[in-house]
Amino acid sequence: MTDAPLHHRSITAHARSLRNREYSCLELTRHFLARIEAAADLNAFITVTAEHALKQAEDADRRIAAGQATALTGIPLAHKDLFCTRGVLTSCGSKILANFISPYDATVVDQLNRRGAVILGKTNMDEFAMGSSNETSHYGPARNPWDKSAVPGGSSGGSAAAVAARLTPVATGTDTGGSIRQPAALCGLTGVKPSYGRVSRHGMIAFASSLDQGGVLSRCAEDAAIVLHAMSGFDANDSTSLRHPVPDYPALLDQPIAGKTIGLPGEFFGPGVDHEVARCVDQAIAQLGRMGAKTVPVELPNSAAGIPCYYVLAPAEASSNLARFDGVRYGHRAAEYADLDDLYAKTRGEGFGAEVKRRIMIGAYVLSSGYYDAYYLKAQRLRRLIADDFKRAFERCDVIAGPTTPATAFAIGEKSRDPVAMYLNDIFTNAVNLAGLPGLSIPAGFDRNGRPVGLHLIGRYLDEATLLSVAHRYQMETDWHRQTPPGYA
């Protein structure tokens, strides 16, 4: 047995210990289930699948005994509640799916199951992933373990809170405009969103199909590399899934930083950034410099248009993707209705929360006749300009760095009445989704209130490996990622 408590150990360490029979998967699973129960006030989980987890753990123990273990066999994890899990509630944080027991597994879930990972449960999230604070969840807000009066970020807020409080070694998330990286930053975690097309979207309940991408929230880049490697790959069930071979991310973690060029866009370091966030990010970049990285200024001149562009395209796709929730084949159905249209309107009126309705309406509006060209087409043209900016910038650098968010975690309730203020949280992250690039956030310090700050790294298309290796090398020299919230040690 090792000295460090089980919940502070890395996936690699667990895998080694499980193989050496230092402890069993069943023990490990019980350990995390107990922590989840003790931390119920964080509201990080919508569903805890304890019984199923113990069964999976027993299977994993048998598999290890038979010498058939993979890097993930017996490793507990949690799935964001928008990944379909067979036989388990998959609510997407919404009342409209509050009774939806998925009849199938998402490809991501299936891939991780097959490698022997143990599902602890399904994590809380903003309804249909629409939000940056986890406050739009039908199940109430998840809380930030660093300060329970603060939001954990969103939309993968439950996943972030769970990993930060060490209730699970790792959790899946999804990122449409920053929904992995922003909560990772606000909770002091490593969060990686791969290139669009790397991770199958099959079984991931769609928010905005051309932007959504599954990824990982973890304690460190090494864990992220192992899980992302297992999640990625071609899936015939997703027409946007890439055929490109997935590099062996864990094996590539040790690439040296020396010789890498880091681009610093002036647009990411403006007056809108909280000065303590700026200080931490500057220090992190200086650290990377000491480790041998070169820095160059780059320009992303259209980045200011990212938010407006995103808030046309994402709602447009969402209004379409959410049309299927009509109370006919699954999910919530209004109890009383006069006729068919009334059934639709009441079911959807009752089933969706205010933010989701807002986005559905914005989406329907920008696609409707007479407005399409001015809004939707205009946004698509801007999207190309934004993507082209990145292409040009990557001619001069290997990685782009900046703050993940303009400020650290804010108080629950602080921004929930002002959608526009909420949207501005994703100002640095959503352009990455528009361009389909990989992005990652790693812990880079704390503000004076002890709230974590995230460093945002953006990579070339399909170059997750470089991002992960820069993050890993940085984490070998720093210990921000090893800090745990008080009370969760």
Partner: protein
């Protein structure tokens, strides 16, 4: 461009969202603010720029014409709000 309560009611109807006047009024204010944000797009000239609908420049992959999905009606209808004789039930539809 501010959005009126009437426009909200129209969009809500298009999107099949039941909405009482107070809710429509509330959303009218919020949607107007969002559109104001969105209209910042107009500060950038996009003349001659081709719309980009997808982050990849890939061609659609075409699948072989094979039947691999088989009957799972019972599992699917177990979660249906109303099904009978294998049919999903809805209020009478008049064409």
């Amino acid at each position: 461009m501010p959005i009126t309560r009437e426009q909200v009611a129209h969009i809500a109807r298009l999107a099949r969202l039941a909405m009482d006047p107070a809710e429509a009024e509330f959303h009218a204010g919020q949607l107007s603010r969002i559109l104001e944000l969105v209209e910042q797009m107009n500060r950038i000239d996009t003349t001659g720029v081709a719309p980009m609908s997808h982050p990849q420049d890939a061609a659609l992959r075409l699948r072989d014409d094979r039947v691999t999905e088989h009957n799972r009606r019972d599992q699917y209808q177990r979660i249906a709000p109303a099904a009978e004789h294998g049919l999903y039930l809805v209020p009478r539809v008049i064409e």
